[in-house]
């Protein structure tokens, strides 16, 4: 047994991990979530703003990260929509602009009432320039965005009247998968202009580098899929769907926590078994070493 475990084919581990993820998807686990302080702070940052506040919402990710980030983008947009905030959408990643449009169609226009293009939401789209886009937009928005995503000059869009740069924004929401993203927003926008609050939803990989900005530079953070599940729990409790039940779109994060549980249990088991095998092998080799020494 010890010999088998010590030379276990890595593909057996892959198979076990595949089953650990697949089974809870086919047969979901009934889990409940207690929101963390960070998720509650993110919720409060949006909730406490008066209706009609200006919110810039940046989609800084691509389809490769949407498994983690789309649930929180859905929940954040839905929450902003329920609070009737004015939403200025933009993207620092090119595919983010397309994901933004899909989310607007699927969440804002489908689930939130009273939204009309140009009146209370606008898509500024993607601009090349990485973090430089933020640097320019915080001082002169029109130098960076001459038109919206659909080619309409910003001066012809009613809700852009009087908006010369991003500084009058009450809140920044950045859903981010890397560079440029939340870190650059902190460095180039909310630190030099602290009047604007910031809420971010990030991938697990990026979360670690953003904790240091809490709470003075970032007001609330949703870290990885767990953050999304917690945020969905809070939003669903406060703003359920028309039938009083949580909206299906706002359960993606919670649903993906089932595979997390089983996969993490498997990982912990494998780490424990690996350590036991290692120490048993070491003990066995020491014994054999002593036996050889005694024989000499």
């Amino acid at each position: 047994m010890l010999q088998y475990l010590s030379t276990l084919d890595r593909r057996v581990v892959f198979l076990l991990m595949g089953l650990a993820v697949a089974i809870p998807i086919l047969f979901p686990l009934p889990l409940s979530y207690k929101p963390s302080v960070l998720a509650q702070q993110a919720f409060d940052a949006i909730e406490t703003l008066p209706p009609g506040s200006n919110v810039v919402f940046s989609f800084d990710y691509d389809p490769a990260a949407s498994g983690e980030l789309q649930p929180m983008a859905n929940a954040l947009m839905y929450h902003c929509g329920q609070r009737k905030h004015n939403l200025y959408f933009m993207a620092l990643w090119a595919p983010g602009a397309a994901i933004c449009s899909d989310t607007i169609d699927g969440i804002l226009l489908k689930r939130c009432e009273g939204y009309e293009y140009g009146q209370n939401y606008v898509e500024l789209g993607y601009q090349a320039g990485l973090a430089g886009v933020i640097k320019i937009a915080v001082t002169d928005l029109r130098q960076q965005f001459k038109t919206d995503k659909y080619g309409t000059p910003l001066d012809q869009i009613p809700m852009m009247k009087g908006i010369q740069n991003l500084q009058p924004m009450d809140l920044l929401v950045s859903v981010s998968a890397g560079d440029p993203g939340s870190k650059e927003w902190v460095q180039l926008f909310v630190t030099p202009f602290p009047a604007t609050k910031m809420v971010t939803g990030t991938t697990g990989v990026q979360s670690v580098s953003l904790y240091t900005y809490i709470p003075n530079q970032i007001d609330g953070m949703l870290g990885a899929i767990k953050g999304a599940a917690e945020y969905e729990t809070i939003v669903n409790a406060k703003y359920p769907g028309p039938d009083g039940k949580p909206l299906p779109e706002l359960q993606e994060g919670q649903r993906r926590m089932g595979p997390q549980l089983t996969a993490h249990l498997l990982m912990v088991t494998l780490i424990a078994v690996g350590n036991v095998v290692y120490f048993m092998q070491r003990k066995a080799s020491r014994r054999s070493g002593h036996a050889r020494g005694a024989a000499r």
């Binding site: 993607y126 973090a131 430089g132 001459k146 991938t203 670690v208």
Partner: protein
Amino acid sequence: MKRSTIVSIALCVVGGLGLALNALVRPHGFGAKYVHFQEKTYVEADVGPALGEVLETGTQDPNDRRRVWLPINDTLLDRPNVQRTDKAPISWVEEVDITPVDAWARMTGPSGGADVSLSLRNTLGVWVAALFSLAVLSFLWRDNPVYKFAESVIVGVSAAYWVVNAFWSTLVPSLLYPLFPGLTKAWALPGTSGEYEEGAWTRIFPVILGVMLLMRLSRQAGWIAVWPLAFVIGTTAGIKLVSHVQADFLAQISSSVESLIKFDDRGAFDWGRSVGNIVLTVGLLSVLTYFFFSLEHKGVVGRAARLGVWFLMVSFGAAFAFTVMGRITLLSERFEFLFGDWLWLIDPKYVRTVAEAGQSVVSMITSAPR
């Protein structure tokens, strides 16, 4: 025959049988996308400013009217300041994605499915995505031609996407339009003013730098590419330096200087925040000590540095755990796509509620063959 070849063939056979079984057992098959035909009709109308708006601003001419296209059933057409023109309405048929449940309901409804169709384009998209997902996952078994093919296609498609994207999002609006506004307006950006802006000629400098960068391809003139690179590195460093000093250095020092003893709003001792701040301060000082190499790590300094290593290890462990969580989420999202959008094993209604998703598997097993 090699053992790995036998396993590969067995996997393909089992997978194929599973697909066939799924197609036979399920009453509605799987992996299909449907569209609903929706007729759209727009009419042209002259829209004048609302009376209230004119009175409020006092600047708009009440006769100033804008010509717009509106849906024929738009309530705006009933307003007194909106008048239809003589131009004939424009109509077209639009394809709207619908769920299989909606499609089946329409097929069995009074229309008999006349306004519903299987979307070959979208269905093909689902199958291509599913087969490419399996091709990439096949790398877990070992490197193989199917994986290589999928990898090459992804690299090629990504490169093409970025070339097209860079052209339309950078070259056209930021270079061609400022230099040739009239021509670019007529050709690509109809919503713009088409007027030449003062100083737009300076956009020629990035073009020159770009051409210099391409000199890297030449053996003789490769040295020219160093100059634009120096410009890029210099400007990036300039932007980053200031922001790092402000956000990551000064602000972090400010955030790290916290009172070790905290009281809550009622004046009671706050255990949680106090312990948190003590851990923060001890961790900060010990990790800084670990990276302080001017003193030998012996005695008190050595013990503090060792504590710093422990703090670093804990933070690395947390970072790794976060990464694991992210990767598992990506795998579960892919499985959801394969089981949901492709195979319809879960949530064929596209409802995707936690309660109903599992029932689909049971119904698949118990449903009668068609």
